[in-house]
């Protein structure tokens, strides 16, 4: 095949197209960042009449914001931890065993992320209503764990499949018990996969709205708090500052996870 472009450089048209797509994707983020610092309260005018950090101070004094933020962080932390433990166990079982229902199990695990969140949400709500447990912190955690397991499971199983089985056999052969083999050979091999999967899980949980709406009671996670803020136009700039927090909280872990998977992918 003859390359149409021997220099390997992109043509000008392609560069412009890529630039436009990137702008389309990220322009709204820039708007949020910009208007988090505007001096205007309610209406958006471009350019903003002035810049101020007053809203940051105002947000810091809002107790409902801190409650929502800490709830989101707690849910994400617990859901991620659960997902790491369950996802790793599951990946280990699927990798090692050839048991009845193995393929069905793989599908069932992936399903929550393929299924629309609204379906997961409504079915969880119905199921929880059937019990007496009520809608608490833990029902949110359960809802988030269903889709967080997938990211951990996918990362770990991919890594296990790239790890030579003979390494585990060598460990057992040299006298290591099953637990020692896991501790000294398997865990170091899957550590970065766990980190990457865990960070993705954390980011997914942190900004989840749909499933949370169905599984939360009176509590508000940060995304739901932001959503409810929309009905109060006077709080716009404050909400924009909160959105900045969310961008930072989800972007940094994803960036780190990306770096880790890149490094070990060589």
């Amino acid at each position: 095949m003859k390359p149409s472009n021997p220099t390997g450089r992109a043509s000008l048209g392609l560069k412009i197209a890529v630039g436009l797509v990137l702008l389309f994707l990220h322009f709204p983020l820039l708007i949020i960042i910009l208007y988090a610092f505007t001096t205007e309260e309610a209406s958006f005018r471009f350019p903003p009449p002035g810049l101020t950090t007053r809203w940051v101070g105002e947000l810091v004094n809002r107790a409902d914001f801190w409650n929502a933020l800490s709830l989101s962080l707690a849910v994400a932390a617990v859901a991620t931890t659960l997902a790491i433990v369950l996802g790793t166990l599951l990946a280990g079982a699927i990798y090692r065993g050839n048991f009845f229902g193995r393929d069905a199990l793989t599908l069932l695990v992936i399903l929550p992320i393929a299924l629309p969140g609204i379906v997961t949400g409504i079915s969880l709500r119905s199921a929880i209503s059937l019990t007496d447990m009520g809608f608490t912190f833990w029902t949110i955690v359960i809802g988030h764990t269903t889709f967080c397991i997938v990211t951990v499971y996918n990362n770990v199983i991919a890594r296990l499949r790239r790890t030579a089985r003979s390494q585990m056999e060598a460990s057992m052969d040299l006298g290591a018990s099953t637990f020692q083999t896991f501790r000294y050979v398997v865990l170091p091999n899957i550590a970065t996969a766990l980190l990457a999967g865990g960070m993705l899980a954390f980011a997914l949980s942190f900004d989840e709205v749909i499933v949370t709406t169905f599984t939360a009671g009176q509590q508000q996670t940060l995304p739901i708090w932001i959503l409810s803020q929309l009905t109060r136009p006077r709080d716009r700039p404050v909400t924009n500052v909160a959105a900045l927090f969310v961008i930072a909280a989800t972007f940094i872990p994803i960036l780190i996870a990306y770096r880790f998977t890149q490094k070990t992918g060589e």
């Binding site: 030579a164 003979s166 390494q167 056999e169 060598a170 460990s171 057992m172 052969d173 040299l174 006298g175 290591a176 018990s177 020692q180 000294y184 050979v185 170091p188 091999n189």
Partner: protein, 349 residues
């Protein structure tokens, strides 16, 4: 070690079977391997030799049958409780550990104190001729060096039996031959049993005290290299260990008067002028040289006999040169071999 008159049995397999669904990977294998022996399991790929090794290591459980290590039944004992260690085909070094940590692994999991660990690691590195390499990572080593580290790691626990799964398969010819000599020397020095899996018959013949030839999950023959080469009992062994001419049925009757299959090694046949007189103790057949391949040390001829089949004949190049050999194509010859050189076989394939 003084040669014991009655060597004890290190590994005993009795009626061992391992089936994977319909596939009989190992099918009723009986095998005794003696203490201190260099024993090879030889066979083509898929013949069951590696599964057999994995059964001894404990990575596979037999479908039926008994496996004994020094008289103790181990068929259901996990690998980490067996006094055997393995050198893997892909070496299976732990990539996240240094060479020193790799070798010390077996001692570390057994909680051997650190000073002793370090002493034994450097001893092992000394033995495999990689002194001072403790702090390298496996990725910084060449294939041959990794092989040596894998060997050191398997030997540091002082196992009674060392299992080697085609350990030289990934090395180039020169390094391979050098490692063959070294492995043999190490085995003789430490005096433990080596069980060596290979598909390379030359390697098995050079290194082993005894070997077993596998085919389709069964053992075809067990014996010393000389026994297997000079007295193969089946057509498969005759063909797999070295090169041979297998003659059976009508062709055999025309030569020997009996339809019984026999094997004649190419180097046991002499090429003579057509008018050479024959004696009672030889078989002879006339033919035409169809092809001659000059191989430096010797020449391989393909001779079409007048009774209708081809024979491969190998002659040492004592005086002949490459140019002489080219002229032999198409010439009439008489092939002679001693009646004792022909091996009658119990079965053929």
């Amino acid at each position: 070690m003084n040669a014991p008159t009655q060597p004890s049995i290190a590994v005993r397999l009795q009626a061992v079977c391992r089936y994977f669904g319909e596939v009989k990977a190992v099918d009723h294998v009986n095998l005794d391997i003696y203490d201190g022996e260099f024993f090879s399991l030889l066979g083509p790929s898929g013949s069951g030799k590696t599964t057999c090794l994995r059964l001894i290591a404990g990575f596979e459980q037999p479908t039926s049958g008994s496996i004994q290590l020094y008289g103790q039944e181990v068929a259901n004992v996990p690998p980490y409780e067996r006094d055997v260690n393995t050198v893997f085909q892909d070496y299976a070094l732990f990539p996240h550990m240094t060479v020193g940590q790799n070798i010390a692994y077996g001692l570390m999991v057994k909680k051997v104190p650190k000073p002793e660990r370090e002493r034994r690691v450097s001893e092992m590195l000394e033995m495999v001729q990689l002194p001072g390499m403790e702090n390298r990572k496996p990725s910084q080593l060449s294939g041959g060096q990794r092989q040596r580290v894998a060997l050191a790691r398997a030997l540091v626990n002082h196992p009674r039996v060392l299992l080697l799964d085609e350990p030289l398969g990934a090395l180039d010819l020169k390094l391979r031959q050098q490692m063959q000599i070294e492995l043999k020397a190490i085995q003789e020095r430490i005096g433990i049993t080596f069980i060596f899996v290979t598909h390379d018959q030359e390697e098995a013949l050079t290194m082993s005290d005894r070997l077993a030839v596998f085919n389709h999950g069964k053992i075809e023959q067990i014996g010393t290299p000389t026994e297997l080469y000079e007295h193969p009992t089946t057509g498969f062994v005759a063909g797999f260990v070295g090169t041979t001419n297998l003659i059976s049925g009508d062709s055999a009757r025309k030569l020997t008067g009996s339809p019984e299959t026999f094997s004649i090694r190419p180097e046991k046949i002499r090429i003579c002028p057509p008018d050479t007189p024959t004696t009672d103790d030889v078989y002879s057949v006339a033919g035409t040289v169809r092809d001659a391949i000059y191989l430096g040390m010797h020449t391989r001829y393909l001779v079409e006999t007048d009774v209708g089949f081809d024979l491969i004949v190998v002659q040492q190049n004592l005086e002949s040169s490459s140019a002489d050999i080219q002229t032999t194509r198409g010439s009439r010859v008489k092939l002679l071999w001693h009646k004792d050189s022909a091996r009658h076989l119990t079965e053929t394939e």
